[in-house]
Subunit: 131 residues, 2 copies
């Protein structure tokens, strides 16, 4: 079963910031990354992924941080992303994720930033009745 692509959600931590970076919320790298990804995913041909801002993913030591999830799919959390240079990498990683039915992209096929930046992954949630 392939989940409808619009059911894939990208959470972007908008409070992520670098040590010594600006305290202004709108200027934080996480907020910049969120705007850039929202713009990129609104372009024609972009993978069908819903973007949601989140206040904190509790990965504060590895900014910027995102999480990608969808019904029936593994959830992945990535850190160490750059608000300026990681956009194309993230879009490519999302495209690969969206092309799977379970969220599992083979290790070698993942963009390097996703291989190095993985923080954690979680299996799809099964309800008792489906288990």
């Amino acid at each position: 079963m392939t989940a409808a692509p619009e059911e894939i959600c990208l959470h972007v931590c908008v409070t992520c910031r670098q040590a010594g970076g600006p305290d202004d919320k709108a200027l934080r790298p996480g907020a910049v990354l969120h705007r850039a990804l929202s713009d990129a995913l609104a372009q024609p041909g972009a993978p069908a992924v819903r973007v949601e801002a989140v206040e904190c993913l509790s990965v504060c030591k590895r900014p910027c941080t995102i999480a990608v999830s969808g019904p029936g799919r593994w959830t992945y959390i990535y850190g160490d992303l750059d608000a300026e240079i990681s956009i194309d990498t993230i879009i490519e990683g999302l495209r690969l994720y969206a092309a799977t039915s379970d969220g599992l992209v083979p290790w070698r096929a993942r963009p390097e930033a996703f291989r190095k930046g993985v923080v954690a992954r979680i299996p799809p949630f099964k309800t008792s009745s489906a288990a």
Copy 2:
């Protein structure tokens, strides 16, 4: 809304191991932790939580690792847990989590191992129709 408690799932990484520790899968700290938590959660009065073994949560540098999740609740991933001494702490943390409707336990109320060991958290998944 409070989710049915049996819908809370605890994933335990059974392949987590310490550097230099035993390679035998059944003796790895993750496998030991999984057995101990399964036993503890089967006791009368334990929080109603389903335990599932998982091969890897991609938090290999911070064994042992668990994830707790449930419909409508934030998912939390914890690392740096000890297969021998963390059982009571984890059960207490699960009890607090189960007592919430959204999975958000106030910081000060969390067991210390959960405050220090948090690896990441992810908001509850919303479907497009519910968003």
